[in-house]
Symmetry: C2
Subunit: 208 residues, 2 copies
């Protein structure tokens, strides 16, 4: 008797999961984030994540197509929380701040968050180049959230023009983060340069 069944093709979409499954999924992501903060992404192994979250190794691969996919989902989730923080933080001292200053503050605080948890910066950089389609999808979602947050912070700039500006800022952020965690620049230089980029591309639109 010949079995032709192919199983385990690809992870079930999040929206089609039962509550129990969503719970397991979250527990995997939480364990991954915690372990990355404790020991760093390069020493993290799937077996540990599974042990800590109480999920069998084979099952983890039913939820995430690869280690990259799990890590991408984890950093995307964290980054989304960070963006929400940054945006709401800027709602407070918004009075008297021009667009440029607001965006500079946005990226400065963002960089500081990564500085406080450098392992997450390494995680973001390590995962950015993944070719796993599921990981890539998670990262695309992260990029979209990034764009939306920037859009919210620089509401004065017309959308048509701001689209390019947002991409520039996004790329510069990712690039400087990469240069920092791979030791090609210092954190201070990275932060300074990123802020300079923001100032350069935004001052034309500033109308104080």
């Amino acid at each position: 008797m010949v079995r032709v069944t192919k199983v385990d093709l690809s992870p079930r979409p999040v929206e089609a999961m039962s509550p129990r499954q969503l719970e397991r999924r979250e527990s995997l992501i939480a364990a991954a984030l915690a372990l990355v903060n404790e020991i760093g992404v390069e020493r993290l192994q799937m077996k540990q994540v599974c042990e800590r979250s109480g999920v069998a190794l084979g099952t983890a691969y039913r939820y995430f197509s690869s280690k990259d996919h799990l890590l991408a989902a984890a950093i995307a989730e964290w980054h989304r929380l960070l963006l929400a923080d940054l945006v709401s933080e800027l709602r407070g001292p918004r009075g008297g701040l021009g667009t440029t200053d607001r965006v500079v503050r946005f990226v400065r605080h963002g960089m500081r968050a990564y500085q406080r948890q450098p392992q997450l910066a390494r995680l973001r950089v390590a995962v950015a180049a993944s070719t796993d389609p599921f990981a890539s999808e998670a990262l695309q979602g992260m990029a979209r959230a990034d764009n939306a947050a920037l859009q919210a912070v620089m509401a004065e700039v017309p959308t048509a023009a701001s689209d390019l500006v947002r991409h520039i800022v996004g790329h510069a952020w990712q690039g400087e983060l990469t240069a920092w965690v791979t030791g090609r620049t210092t954190l201070g230089d990275a932060r300074r340069r990123l802020e300079d980029v923001v100032r350069l591309v935004l001052t034309p639109y500033d109308t104080p």
Copy 2:
């Protein structure tokens, strides 16, 4: 009798190699580049590189600290050749071209080169996030060459201002390349956006 000797700490610097060794090193890089073009970086294995270049596996690791290091050296070499091509190509039709148009042409031709050898684009992206210090060093050299080439192409812009601009273009290039090879955007969109970035950050300096 106890041996305490630790060997193989790190690869011998290129400038301290004998001619025979430089030859082996080059042959490893050449084999890696050829194989990446043939089968792609994700299917490339160290064993194949060693077989094709006639170097033993252990010996390869005496020249390069890791697969990442070898691949970084390979893409850096190729990218340097590309830059030389791009710069010399712009020496021809330089008459009548403003700085912006020159740089736009520069990145357009650069993107086209990666389009012709998409496996090398994947290679560049895959290796960009490496944390191996030796790979990182090779990439830093590549980034410097990139900067120098851009500097040559936009000679009219004062150095102080052009430094930031060059970083912006470099980051946007890397970012769009990444978005393309990971399937988050199309090649056409990536090329267009990169050229738009160049135009946005350079037109203020254009003095026709």
